[in-house]
C-alpha cells in the first residue's frame, strides 16, 4: 500500500496569536485556519492524516482516516518505525475515547456542595494564575503528570521554572523501576534499553509480557513474528499464564519469586561468551540443578534443555520484566538478566542503550512516595494533576492533592484523581491537538490535530503557555522545537535522529554488593496473587473505552467486569466454582471478585487483571520502588454470592472436531478429506471469473492480541451489545478470537470470521435471497432485504452470523463514529463479516477507472491491516502470484470443518507440533 498515493495533510497556516489575546479566541483563530475537509474534499473522499497514538506510551504511528470532517478509523502507519502498519486493539479503540459520552466537555469547578459546576476557560485560568500568585507566600506548587516527553516535557520544565512549580516525577504504573535500577547498578545507565529480539536466535523471556504491555507490544509482536521466519527459538518463563506465554515455543511455569534462582542457575551453568569478573560471579550464589528445581519448580530436563539451547545459540537474548521484576526478588532478577546479557555479549547490540526508551522524567511509585512524605509536612499551593487515571499506587498522594489550596486536574474523564480536584480543565484528545512524542532516543513523532475539537477543550500546552503568559501558541511552540532540530513539523510525520553507539562497562563492585544485599533466598509462599498484564486495558487507563470492555480478554474469554482467574485444581482445593464471588485476603479491601476457573491456568496462581492494580493500593518494592505485582500467601475469603460471568466462549475444548488444524476425528478406516481436493458431488461448486476473495491466517503468527477484532468493530460500525446481552451470548463481533485448549500450546488462538463459503449452507435457506453467493466468491448479505428468520445463522457451522436483537445504541457523540461506507444495521436483521466489501468495492472502482483488475496488496481488510504480527493476508485466490494464493497452497494448510464440504475461503496455516515440547 503506497501511503503517498493518498495521504493528504492538513494545511495549517500558523495563526499568530496576539500575546494578550484571550485563549478562547486563540482557539477560534487556530481552528479557523485548520482546513475543514468537508469543503475541500467531496464527502466520499477519505482524508488521511499522519499522527501518533497516545493511548499508551509505546507511541505507534497512526493514519487517521477521516470523512466529512470527522475521524472514523485509525490504522497503523506502514512507514512508522515502531509499528510499521500494525496497531493494537487499544490503538484501534482509542477513537472510543475521543467520542466517549462521558468525556469532559467544558471546564468545571467544585461548587460549594462539592458538585461540579461549569466555569468559563478564562475564569478557570484566572483562578489558577491568582492561586499561583498567592502561593508565592511560602507554599509549594506541584505538577504531576503521566509520562511526558518531547516538546511538552520541555515546556513543562520552562513552566515549572517560570512559575515556581515543582515538577514531580511522572507517574506510571509501569515504571520499569527494577530494570532501570539494575542497569544503573550494572552499567551506570538508569534506562530501559531497546531489545532487538528480531536479531536474536534464542529468546529467553522471564516474565516480560512482550505482547501485552511491555515497552512496545506492537513492535515486539512484529519482531517476534519476523523472528519466527528465521526460526527464532523462544523460551518464556513466567509464574502465571499470559497471552505472551501462550505464544512462546516453550512456555515454562516457574514459582513466583523464584526467577533469580533460575537465572542464577543459568548464569552459572551456561558457558559465558565474555567472562564476567570473578567478583561478580562470586556474588551470585551457586545453584545446583536440584536446588533450581526445588526453588523454581522447573524440571531438571527443562533446565538442561534451556542451558543447552542457551549454549547452542549464537545470539541469545534474555529479557526480564513484567511480574518477574515486580516483587521482592525483582532487582536480583533484573541484575542477573543484565549479567546474562553481558556475558552473552548482547549488551551493545541486542540490548541497545543507544535507542533506550525515554523514561527520564518518569519516577517509580517508590520515588513518588518519598516526595509525598516530604510534601505532606509542607503546605501545598497549587497542585496540578495531568493525564492521570489513578493515584492509588502512591500512598498519601490523594491526601496531599486534597489538602492543596487549589488542585487542578487536566484530564479528559472524571478519573478517581479528580475527586481531589477543585478545578477541572478538559484537555483535548491527541487527535484534536498538536504535540510530539519522543518514544525512544532518536525517534520523535508528531501528534497532529486531525480535526476541530468536539467540545470546549484545550491542549495542555496551550494551557501552560497561557498561564506563563508566553507569546505564541502551542502549535508554534512545537514547530519551533522541530525547527531547532532542523525538521519541519508540517511535513514530517516523525523525526529519526542517528543514534551514537553507547559504550558500557560492567561496574563490578556495585553489582556484586547490590546482588548480595538484594538477594532474597525465599520465594513467595503459594498460592500467589499475580496482577497479569492486560492487553485490553494496559494499566487500567483504557478501561473507560467501551469497545475494549466489549472484546473478551483473549485468555479468559471474559468480556465485561473483573474476574479472578484460577486453575481447576485451585478451584477444587479452595472449593469454589466458576462465578462464585469471593474475597481475596491479600487485598484486604472490600472488593469481591467473581472466579473464572480456567483449565489452562497454572496451579497455585490466582491472577487478576493489571487494571485492578490501578485501584488497589499495592505494596512497593523497597529495592526498586516498583509496584509489587506478585503477592504470596493469599487466601480466598468467603464466597459472597454467585455471578454470571460474561464468558463468550461456550467451551475451550475442540478436540477432534476439525475446528483447530489438529487431528479431525474420522471413524477408523475412513481417510480424512484432503485439503484443496474437491470431493465428488451431485452438482458442482460455483466457479469464479476474475476474483475469488480469500483470506489466509497463519496461526503460528497470531498472538491472540485481538487487534483485528477492534479494527473490525470500528471499520464496520458494529454496535456494542453490553454486559447483559453478553451474558445471553449475544455479542455482535464479526471476527472473534477463539481460545482453545489443545496439547500444543497452553491456549490456541483462532481468529474466526465468516468463511465466505463456496457452498454456503446459510445462503440456500434464506427465503428472500437476503444472502447469496456473489461473482467474486463473497457470501453477500443484503441487510435491507433481510426479514430476520435467523435460519441462516442456525445453519452456519461457523456461527459467524450475528443478529440485531435490538437497535444498536450509539450514545452521542458516539453517533459521529460511523463509517459512512458501511450501513448501520437496523434491529431485526442478520449481519456478518463481508471481507470489508466496502474496501473491495472502492478498490475495484479505482481499478476500473484505470481499466485494470485489482492488484495484489492494493488494499486489504481492516483486520489484516491492523494485525501487528502480519498473521493475516487477504487477496484474490485466482491470482496465482498473490500472497494469499501462496499461503493457501503452502504446507499445513487447513480449513475449518472441511469435511462438511462448505469450501470456505479462509485458510489457516499451522506447523504441526510447533514447539516440540509444547507448554510445560
Amino acid at each position: 500500500m503506497k501511503r503517498r498515493d493518498f495521504v493528504k495533510f492538513l494545511g495549517v497556516t500558523p495563526g499568530a496569536l496576539a500575546g494578550s489575546g484571550s485563549l478562547a479566541d486563540a482557539q477560534e483563530r487556530l481552528f479557523e485556519n485548520l482546513l475543514r475537509p468537508k469543503q475541500q474534499d467531496p464527502a466520499d473522499m477519505w482524508v488521511v492524516h499522519q499522527t501518533t497514538c497516545t493511548e499508551c506510551p509505546a507511541g505507534c504511528g497512526v493514519l487517521v482516516k477521516g470523512r466529512e470532517g470527522r475521524p472514523v478509523k485509525l490504522e497503523g502507519d506502514p512507514d512508522h518505525p515502531i509499528n510499521r502498519g500494525g496497531l493494537c486493539m487499544r490503538g484501534q479503540a482509542s477513537l472510543g475515547r475521543l467520542y466517549h459520552q462521558e468525556r469532559l466537555r467544558e471546564p468545571l469547578a467544585r461548587g460549594a456542595d462539592g458538585s461540579w459546576e461549569p466555569i468559563s476557560w478564562n475564569a478557570a485560568l484566572d483562578r489558577i494564575s491568582n492561586a499561583l500568585v498567592e502561593s508565592r507566600g511560602g507554599s509549594r506548587n506541584v505538577y504531576l503528570s503521566s509520562r511526558t516527553t518531547g516538546s511538552l516535557a520541555q515546556l513543562l520544565d520552562e513552566f515549572a521554572a517560570s512559575l515556581n512549580v515543582e515538577r514531580l516525577p511522572d507517574l506510571e504504573l509501569f515504571s520499569y523501576g527494577a530494570l532501570r535500577e539494575a542497569y544503573d547498578v550494572l552499567f551506570g545507565r538508569r534506562e530501559v534499553p531497546a531489545y532487538h529480539v528480531e536479531e536474536a536466535d534464542l529468546l529467553v523471556t522471564v516474565g516480560a509480557d512482550l505482547f501485552e504491555s511491555f515497552i512496545s507490544p506492537v513492535r515486539f509482536a512484529r519482531h517476534v513474528s519476523e523472528g519466527l521466519e528465521h526460526h527464532l527459538d523462544w523460551y518464556h518463563l513466567e509464574p502465571q499464564l499470559t497471552m505472551t506465554g501462550t505464544n512462546a515455543g516453550h512456555r515454562i511455569h516457574l514459582h513466583a519469586g523464584s526467577e533469580q534462582w533460575l537465572l542464577a542457575y543459568l548464569l552459572k551453568s551456561a558457558q559465558p561468551r565474555s567472562p564476567l569478573p570473578a567478583r561478580v560471579l562470586d556474588a551470585v550464589p551457586d545453584v545446583t540443578i536440584e536446588q533450581a528445581f526445588a526453588r523454581t519448580g522447573v524440571t531438571p530436563e527443562q533446565l538442561q534443555g534451556l542451558v543447552a539451547a542457551w549454549d547452542a545459540a549464537e545470539h541469545p537474548l534474555v529479557i526480564a520484566g513484567g511480574v518477574s521484576t515486580a516483587h521482592a526478588g525483582g532487582l536480583p532478577t533484573a541484575l542477573l538478566a543484565g549479567l546474562l546479557q553481558e556475558s552473552s555479549g548482547a549488551i551493545g547490540n541486542l540490548v541497545d542503550f543507544g535507542e533506550a526508551e525515554n523514561y527520564d522524567s518518569v519516577g517509580t511509585p517508590g520515588e513518588l512516595v518519598d516526595r509525598v512524605v516530604d510534601l505532606a509536612s509542607a503546605n501545598v499551593g497549587v497542585c496540578f494533576l495531568s493525564r492521570l487515571h489513578t493515584l492509588a499506587p502512591v500512598a498519601g498522594l490523594q491526601e496531599v492533592a486534597g489538602s492543596a489550596v487549589l488542585t487542578v486536574g487536566l484530564t479528559d474523564f472524571l478519573y478517581p484523581p479528580t475527586e481531589a480536584c477543585d478545578l477541572l480543565l478538559p484537555i483535548s484528545h491527541s487527535l484534536e491537538s498538536w504535540g510530539d512524542v519522543e518514544t525512544y532516543r532518536g525517534l520523535t513523532s508528531v501528534v497532529r490535530p486531525a480535526f476541530t475539537p468536539l467540545f470546549d477543550t484545550v491542549a495542555e500546552g496551550d494551557i501552560l503557555l497561557h498561564l506563563m503568559a508566553a507569546p505564541g501558541n502551542w502549535e508554534d511552540y512545537v514547530a519551533r522545537q522541530w525547527q531547532a532540530a532542523g525538521a519541519d513539523v508540517e511535513e514530517q510525520p516523525f523525526l529519526e535522529r542517528p543514534t551514537r553507539p553507547v559504550s558500557t562497562r560492567l561496574r563490578a563492585a556495585p553489582t556484586a554488593d547490590r546482588l548480595a544485599s538484594s538477594w532474597t533466598p525465599d520465594t513467595l509462599e503459594e498460592p500467589v496473587l499475580a496482577f497479569s498484564p492486560s492487553v485490553r486495558f494496559f494499566d487500567g487507563r483504557s478501561q473507560v473505552i467501551s469497545l475494549l470492555n466489549e472484546i473478551p480478554d483473549p485468555l479468559t474469554a471474559v468480556s465485561y467486569g473483573w474476574a479472578l482467574s484460577i486453575s481447576e485444581d485451585d478451584a477444587m482445593m479452595q472449593s469454589v466454582e466458576e462465578g462464585h464471588v469471593v474475597q481475596v485476603s491479600a487485598l484486604g479491601s472490600e472488593d469481591f471478585f467473581p472466579v473464572r476457573v480456567h483449565p489452562a491456568f497454572d496451579f497455585a496462581v490466582l491472577s487478576l487483571g493489571m487494571e485492578h492494580a490501578a485501584t488497589a493500593a499495592l505494596p512497593i518494592d523497597a529495592n526498586t520502588g516498583e509496584l509489587i505485582r506478585c503477592i504470596g500467601g493469599v487466601e480466598l475469603g468467603r464466597v459472597r454470592d454467585s455471578a454470571v460471568l460474561t464468558v463468550l466462549s461456550g467451551s475451550m475444548d475442540a478436540s477432534g472436531r476439525g475446528v483447530l488444524p489438529n487431528d479431525v476425528h474420522h471413524p477408523p478406516g475412513v481417510e480424512a478429506h484432503e485439503p484443496g481436493h474437491e470431493p465428488r458431488r451431485l452438482y458442482p461448486t460455483p466457479e469464479h471469473e476474475t476474483y475469488r476473495w480469500a483470506m489466509a491466517i497463519d496461526l503460528d503468527k497470531c498472538t491472540g492480541c485481538s487487534a483485528c477484532v477492534a479494527a473490525c468493530y470500528v471499520e464496520n460500525n458494529i454496535s456494542i451489545a453490553g454486559p447483559d446481552e453478553h451474558r445471553k451470548g449475544r455479542e455482535m463481533s464479526w471476527i472473534r478470537i477463539q481460545p482453545y485448549l489443545d496439547g500444543d500450546r497452553p491456549i490456541e488462538f483462532m481468529p474466526v470470521m465468516c468463511q465466505q463459503c463456496g457452498n454456503a449452507p446459510c445462503e440456500t435457506v434464506c427465503p428472500v435471497y437476503a444472502t447469496y453467493h456473489n461473482p467474486d466468491g463473497l457470501n453477500a448479505q443484503v441487510y435491507n432485504r433481510c426479514v430476520g428468520t435467523r435460519y441462516c445463522a442456525n445453519n452456519c457451522p461457523y456461527k459467524a452470523r450475528r443478529f440485531n436483537w435490538f437497535a444498536g445504541q450509539r450514545p452521542e457523540p458516539m453517533d459521529l463514529l460511523v463509517n459512512p461506507d458501511v450501513s448501520v444495521r437496523p434491529k431485526g436483521v442478520m449481519e456478518k463479516c463481508t471481507f470489508c466489501v466496502q474496501r473491495i468495492r472502492e478498490a475495484k472502482d479505482h481499478a476500473k477507472d484505470e481499466d485494470r483488475i485489482v492488484l495484489d496488496g492494493e488494499f486489504t481488510t481492516a483486520c489484516a491491516q491492523s494485525c501487528p504480527s502480519g498473521a493475516i493476508v487477504f487477496g484474490n485466490l485466482l491470482d496465482e502470484n498473490s500472497e494469499v494464493y501462496r499461503w493457501a497452497h503452502s504446507e499445513n494448510v487447513h480449513r475449518i470443518l472441511e469435511g462438511l464440504g462448505t469450501e470456505p475461503a479462509v485458510y489457516y496455516l499451522r506447523q504441526d507440533n510447533r514447539g516440540d515440547t509444547g507448554h510445560e
Binding site: P686, N759, A760, E763, T764, V765, Y769, H773
Partner: protein, 148 residues
C-alpha cells in the same frame, strides 16, 4: 288423476327404493324422476341409470395445471434473475418439485370444488330462497312434461 307432479315420501329407505324401481320399470322416463334423500343412496344412481359424474376431469385438469405451473413458475423466476445460493444449481428440481406438488393438490382440489358447484348447479338462488326440506324422508318426485 294423471301421473304429473306426483310426490311420494317414505320413512324407510327400502320401501323408497322399491317404489323407485317400480316406477322405472313402469317405463317412467328417468329424466322426469327426481329423488331427494337425507343421506346418499348409491342404489338410486343405478336405478335411475345415472352416468358417472364427470367431476374427475375437473380434478385431473386442475392437478395437471398445478403440476406444470409449479415447475414453470419456479424455473421462470430463477431464470429471470439468476442468483446462486449455497452452490445449488439454478434450476434445482428437487426443491421445485415440492412447490409443484403443493400447487398440484391446491389447484386439483379447487378445480374439483368448482366442478361440483358447476355440475350440481350450485349455489342456486331459487333453492336458497325457497328450499325443499326432506325432513328426513326419502322423497320421489315426478315432474310433468310441461316442466321439461
Amino acid at each position: 288423476m294423471s301421473d304429473t307432479n306426483r310426490r311420494w315420501e317414505f320413512e324407510d329407505e327400502h320401501e323408497f327404493l322399491e317404489k323407485l324401481k317400480e316406477l322405472v320399470d313402469q317405463g317412467t322416463p328417468t329424466e322426469r324422476l327426481d329423488v331427494i334423500t337425507p343421506i346418499p343412496v348409491p342404489a338410486t344412481e343405478e336405478i335411475l341409470k345415472m352416468k358417472r359424474s364427470p367431476l374427475r376431469f375437473f380434478t385431473l385438469a386442475g392437478a395437471l395445471t398445478g403440476l406444470s405451473l409449479g415447475f414453470a413458475f419456479t424455473i421462470f423466476t430463477v431464470m429471470d434473475w439468476p442468483i446462486i445460493t449455497g452452490g445449488k444449481p439454478l434450476v434445482s428440481l428437487p426443491p421445485f418439485l415440492i412447490i409443484a406438488f403443493a400447487l398440484t393438490i391446491l389447484l386439483g382440489s379447487l378445480a374439483s370444488f368448482a366442478g361440483f358447484l358447476i355440475l350440481g348447479k350450485m349455489p342456486s338462488i331459487s333453492k336458497i330462497q325457497n328450499p325443499i326440506e326432506h325432513e328426513n324422508m326419502f322423497i320421489i318426485m315426478l315432474e310433468d312434461e310441461a316442466a321439461q
